[in-house]
Structure formats: structure tokens, C-alpha cells
Symmetry: C2
Subunit: 271 residues, 2 copies
């Protein structure tokens, strides 16, 4: 397995302006391809923006799986030969919507994940997913997917790791909040720990740009299988493009000492 | 609930010299009491040292629950009116030994925990515990207990948190290893994440001093319920005494937004 080049592009979707967001995503995906990316990760709800007032507003900009944004991303994945992971507001049946992420491979194959753990007012808007985080056996390695607050449930991250993800791609919108001076944001610390206890790479792509009084950490980060950052990892609330080459084969070695293996050391009968 | 003063005293036990280690622990416990500590945490295997060659060597210095070290710690807890948490090599039946920790309250009550997840060659020496991490309802708050590598299993930490621990006291001996320049040790990062995802305080007491070629991180840390360090948190492989006043009541509020609660947001049916 040769190293896999991953790009996280932290940018600013505009709330409700799906035309603008499509153009923005296309520019980012083409830019990642120009850098030789095998995988490009864009933020949660890239297609729609985040701070909806209510379900009606979200529904109005939601898209089905054959909508214009996913069609664009699929066309770009095929044309450019890379994997696209990005968030979108998915139109479900019966007037419902989901906070979803798409993983699209260069052969056009689409995998969709629906956020299972909803943050704050998302609970008033989105229907939570009930399916485990998918792990897709791509040409460059096994890629898992989940979204933002899902990362705060170590049980959920464990599921993706036990399903043998080498790399977890996570579109996020991390709302900013207070933290002690000089401390790395807790959101990033949790990503590091999730990576280390599973020996799995994680690429988290955050956003920037205020929406209705909400600001974001701007904490995009790419973390190695030991839990140390390879790119990003600071609060940096403006545009940034992170690039890292990931030796994903390392994630297939779960041994951390002569006698320890991060997964076989689990004692599920006790949990 | 008034703030609880916790002291972690990172010191250097001598391998196999239980007399020396008893004197060292007594000095540390008296020093913590002089600082007004309600709780003092000492390292893993404080009573015995760590780097045993084999079971016979560990057995030779192991102690039963009425051995001289636990009797001393009990006498000190009663005399000084504080809670002692420290590690010891416990003599079990049939020639077996456990890597254990004691929590002794000022009324003399003893709670013992046996490390359930063993690190490296510990597997050749110690019998792993099968009981969940205890959570003791003390006069100053609910205190959970586990040891070192247990912290790398988020499922195990979750058990203590779901059993309503306000504070998790963790004797550790973190073997040192390479890390990127400027990065906080991953052991500490995992403690931070464990605290944050459970809104629970954690006090981890490491050691220093080489034993048979093994060195330690010296990473003792006391972390708040948001996952940020209140004391310690660097690789500092020499003696240090960390002091922090913990508003443990904060750990009883698991809400992190108007609609989120770190434990009720779990979806156990899916894990």
C-alpha cells in the first residue's frame, strides 16, 4: 500500500445558497485533485450550510441522492479519479431530512451515511440515522465515515475501527466555544484519542464563517494512527487546505507492544 | 458540594524495596495532608515497583490486603482524614498476584480494584481482574478507580462514568516512548478525551525513575470535566506534586447543550 494523499478543505458554505456551495465545492475538489489527492474531505452540510431555523427551511434546500450536488460530486470523482467525502442535507421520504455524508469513488459508486448522534437543535430538524458508520473498501484503502458529534461517542468510532477502517473521514461543523488559553480545542483532542485507541487515521474537515451568530472552531485536522496530528490541529477559523500523505498500512497493525493489540485487548464480555 | 482538593504525587518507587516504598508513600501522604488534600493519588505499583522479571519475583514482594503497606495507608487515612488511592502488588490465592489499586477512606473502609487490561509483560505475571471499575460514594464525592492501560479502553472508562463517578483516580506507570516534538504525550490526550466525553474529572498519577531500562513519561495530570488540564499534563520525568481543587458538582451536570447530554445521547442499541 503506497501512502494515500488526503486533503481536507476547510471553507465557508453559505446558508441556503446551494448554487454557491456547489461552485465552492467544485473549486475545492479540483484544487485537491491538482495536488494529487486520492481523497478529498469537505465539511458537514457543505451543500446547504448549517444553521437552519427549522425543518421547513432545511427541507427547502435538501436534495435526493440524484440531486444536482451529488451528481456534480459524482461527475468530478469520475473525471478526476479521486474519492470525494462531503456533507449534504438529504431529502428523505415523508418530508423528513437527514444530516448526511456522501463518499463517492472514482467509479461513481456512492455510499451514504446519515448522522446518528445529532447536535443540539439538529434534533428539531433532522431524522437521525440508525445504520452503523459504513466502511468502504476503496482502491486506496478501507475508508469509514461519520459526522461531527458522532466522534464524541467512542463506541461509534470503535464500530468503524472494528469494521477495519484504515482511515475515518469525518465532515464536521464544530461550534466554537470557550477554552483555556494555549489549549488545543477539545474537539481535536477527542479525534486524537479516537485515532490512538484504534490505531486508525482520522481526517476531520471543519468549516469557517459565521451563520446566524454561530461560529466554528476551524479545527480541521488529519491525525495519524498514533493519535498525533499530521496537518492542522489548531483553532484556525478561516479558509485552509490541509494535505497529508497517510501510510494507511500502519492502521492494519494493531499491535502496540509485544503482548498488546488495541482490539484484541478488549474484553467485550465485561462491557 | 465544596471543591475537593486532589493531590497527585509523582515519585520513584524502588523495585522490590517495599520498606523504602512504604516510607516514600508515607512522606507523600503526609505532605498531601499538610496541603489540605481530601484525596491523594500515588502511582501504580507504588508498593512494589514495576519491572518484575517474572511471577516469582512479583510474588515475593506481593502483599495481602492486611499486609504492612495497606495497614500503613489505612492508618494514615484515618489519622489524617483523607482518601488514599495507590497501587500495590496484591497477593492472591494459589500463588497468583494482581496489579491492584486501593482506595482507603478516612473511616478505614478499603476498596480494591484489580487491573483488567494488562500491559505487555504484565500478562506473564499478573492475573487480570474481572470486576468492573468500582465507584465509591465517599464523603467528598463519588470516586472511580482504574489503572494505567485500562484508560486506553474507552468502554472501561464509560463503565465508571455510567456508574456515576464524579472523579476517576488512576494510578499509572506510563512507559515512555517517542512522540513528535512539541506534542503532549498521547497518554495525556487520551485522559483528556475520556474526561470530556463523560464530563468526569480524572486524576492520573504517574511515576519517574528508570527500572531495568524502562523509563516513564512522568505525565501526571489532573483534568477537568471539559477535558482540559488543571495541573500537570507535560512529560516531566522527575518528582512532582500536582494540586488541584475540583468542583466535582460539575460532573453531575452531563448537559453540553440545550438538547445534548453526554450519556443520554448514547444509543446502546446500536453499539
Amino acid at each position: 500500500m503506497t501512502p494515500v494523499r488526503v486533503v481536507c478543505h476547510q471553507l465557508e458554505p453559505h446558508l441556503g445558497d446551494t448554487d454557491y456551495n456547489r461552485r465552492l465545492s467544485e473549486t475545492a475538489i479540483r484544487s485537491a485533485a491538482a495536488l494529487g489527492a486520492h481523497v478529498v474531505v469537505l465539511p458537514e452540510l457543505m451543500q446547504s450550510g448549517y444553521a437552519f431555523n427549522d425543518l421547513a427551511e432545511a427541507r427547502a434546500v435538501s436534495e435526493p441522492l440524484d440531486g444536482p450536488t451529488l451528481c456534480l460530486w459524482k461527475a468530478l470523482a469520475i473525471e478526476l479519479g479521486l474519492i470525494v467525502v462531503a456533507g449534504f442535507c438529504e431529502r428523505l421520504s415523508a418530508g423528513r431530512v437527514a444530516n448526511s455524508a456522501a463518499l463517492i469513488e472514482p467509479d461513481g459508486r456512492l455510499t451514504v451515511y446519515r448522522k446518528a448522534h445529532l447536535w443540539d437543535r439538529e434534533k428539531l430538524i433532522f431524522t437521525a440515522g440508525d445504520a452503523p458508520p459504513p466502511v468502504v473498501d476503496t482502491a486506496v484503502g478501507r475508508i469509514g465515515m461519520m459526522i461531527c458529534y458522532d466522534l464524541e461517542l467512542p463506541e461509534w468510532v470503535r464500530l468503524a475501527a472494528l469494521a477495519q477502517a484504515d482511515l475515518l473521514c469525518t465532515p464536521v461543523n464544530w461550534p466554537d466555544g470557550p477554552r483555556p488559553v494555549g489549549e488545543r480545542p477539545a474537539e481535536i483532542v477527542r479525534v486524537q484519542a479516537n485515532a490512538a485507541v484504534n490505531r486508525m487515521f482520522i481526517a476531520a474537515c471543519d468549516r469557517h464563517g459565521e451563520e446566524r451568530g454561530v461560529n466554528w472552531v476551524g479545527g480541521s485536522v488529519i491525525v495519524d494512527a498514533d493519535g498525533y496530528p499530521l496537518a492542522g490541529a489548531s483553532a484556525h477559523p478561516t479558509e485552509q487546505q490541509l494535505v497529508a500523505d497517510l501510510p494507511l498500512a500502519q492502521a492494519r497493525n494493531k499491535s502496540i507492544s509485544e503482548h498488546n493489540h488495541v482490539h484484541r485487548d478488549r474484553r467485550p464480555g465485561l462491557y
